[in-house]
């Protein structure tokens, strides 16, 4: 379970998150929607401790992410993250990309790490690309590689930061399919996304961010069918 209480985040004097309260129970798929600059991506970075916070707290399974004594490297193993810019490691093959963290972070043996990596790559449909370098993969393939890489750490949570925004339109589908598959398997997911179709069909809940405030949260039917706040109504009509 992820528990966020009174989370405030500043970049200098700019307040990006203005006191967020949010609970994400195990097994839930939560989509975060909102305009650019509304703080959605920053929220993810604060959840896995890639950005420090100024006020409030983020707890993952009861452990405070930002507390001094927390072993953040260990905690991050519970949370896989997939980025907008897929960030494959260009100097490693697909297999090595995925096997690296299990090997050096989880101290798995070489053979074990390769096993895990092979399985995860097959899972996202890259079983025939094991020994290919990322430069020879399409954007969609690289993003699936990134998903496999995160999954190889056997996380309990997956954080997706606009995983399809940087992709060519025809490649979006394959990544969304991989995400859908993961959701069907019961993974707890927080997906910052501009894909309203995905948010509507796959999420258990959808939350709308506006200028650093969590303005509305509810089931997809509530959010898309009966938006309450004026900002959300405006946002939805602008993207239709």
């Amino acid at each position: 379970m992820i528990e966020i209480r009174g989370l405030k985040k500043f970049y200098g004097s700019l307040e990006v998150l203005k006191g967020i309260d949010l609970d994400v129970p195990k097994g839930e798929v939560l989509s975060v929607i909102g305009a650019s600059g509304s703080g959605k991506s920053t929220l993810l970075y604060c959840i896995n401790g890639l950005e420090p916070i100024q006020e409030g707290s983020v707890k993952v399974d009861g452990t405070d992410v930002h507390a001094k004594g927390t072993d953040i490297n260990e905690l991050r193993q519970k949370m896989g993250m997939v980025f907008q810019q897929w960030n494959s490691f260009p100097h490693l093959t697909a297999l090595e990309n995925v096997a690296l963290a299990p090997k050096i972070v989880k101290k798995k043996s070489r053979a074990e790490a390769r096993d895990i990596a092979t399985r995860q790559l097959q899972h996202v449909g890259l079983g025939d690309k094991l020994n290919v370098y990322p430069s020879a993969l399409s954007g969609g393939q690289q993003q699936r590689l990134a998903i496999a890489r995160a999954l190889a750490m056997e996380p309990d949570y997956m954080l997706f930061d606009e995983a399809t925004s940087a992709l060519d339109p025809e490649l979006v589908g394959e990544v969304l399919d991989a995400m859908r598959l993961l959701a069907d398997e019961g993974m707890t997911m927080i997906c910052v996304t501009h894909e309203m179709g995905f948010a509507r069909d796959v999420s258990d809940r959808v939350t709308f961010f506006h200028e650093g405030i969590l303005e509305e949260i509810g089931t997809p039917a509530e959010i898309f069918g009966a938006p309450k706040s004026e900002h959300l109504q405006k946002f939805l009509s602008s993207i239709r």
Binding site: R76, F83, F89, H91, Y133
Partner: protein, 220 residues
């Protein structure tokens, strides 16, 4: 007008000595590269991530190494330190000066290399639970290494050539040995001509080896 008689025999007879001295040159250049890479990496990271006196010191190192004559740097380690009572063997003087110089130049190369790697690579590595050390050694630095690979090759060539200044502080590397032998036989032109060829061959071997290594290392 042109009444110089070439005598190659003395040079050919001392070829083994010259080649041995060539190995000394190669050794001091290689060692200074290794030291230069380690210190250069550290200088680059300090300049990028630290503040205060440590950063100033690192910057001063880079500035001095890059913007003063290599010969002066050599004299500093030899005669400069000697004047204040720090006496080192010619080998150590040349190794120190070369390492100082290489570290300064490589620091700038490394800095450029680090800046060419997007921050998001570090974030991706950290998000997988890697420590800062693991992220750098397994993800960032291997990529930087590729970017600086050719400048690195140039630097080792430069180190080989610059080590010839070592003869001015009494170091018997290839040039020093040549000088000593030449002045004994007065076949100065012949000796330096042959030594020039040896330098040329050494550099060509380094460049060739570097190219072969690159083909093996960088498959992506």
């Amino acid at each position: 007008m042109f009444d110089y008689n070439f005598h190659w025999r003395p040079v050919m007879k001392s070829l083994p000595d010259l080649l041995e001295a060539g190995l000394v040159t190669l050794q001091v250049a290689a060692l200074s590269m290794i030291i230069g890479i380690v210190i250069g990496l550290a200088l680059a990271l300090i300049r990028m991530h630290m503040r205060g006196p440590v950063k100033w010191l690192a910057s001063a190192w880079v500035e001095l190494a890059r913007n003063t004559p290599a010969l002066f740097q050599l004299f500093f380690f030899g005669f400069g330190l000697g004047a204040v009572g720090i006496h080192m063997s010619p080998y150590v003087i040349v190794l120190s000066a070369l390492s100082f110089n290489c570290a300064g130049y490589l620091a700038e190369n490394f800095r450029g290399g680090f800046q060419a790697i997007p921050d998001t690579q570090l974030r991706a590595a950290r998000s997988l639970g890697m420590t800062v050390w693991q992220s750098y050694t397994r993800v960032i630095i291997p990529q930087v290494f590729r970017i600086v690979y050719h400048p690195l090759t140039n630097q080792i060539v430069w180190a080989v050539l610059m080590s010839s200044l070592g003869m001015l502080v009494g170091f018997r590397e290839l040039s020093g040995e040549t000088q000593a032998l030449a002045s004994r036989t007065y076949r100065i032109f012949e000796y330096f001509a042959v030594t020039a060829v040896i330098y040329y061959v050494i550099v060509k071997i380094i460049l060739g080896a570097s190219r072969l290594l690159a083909a093996r290392l960088f498959r992506y």
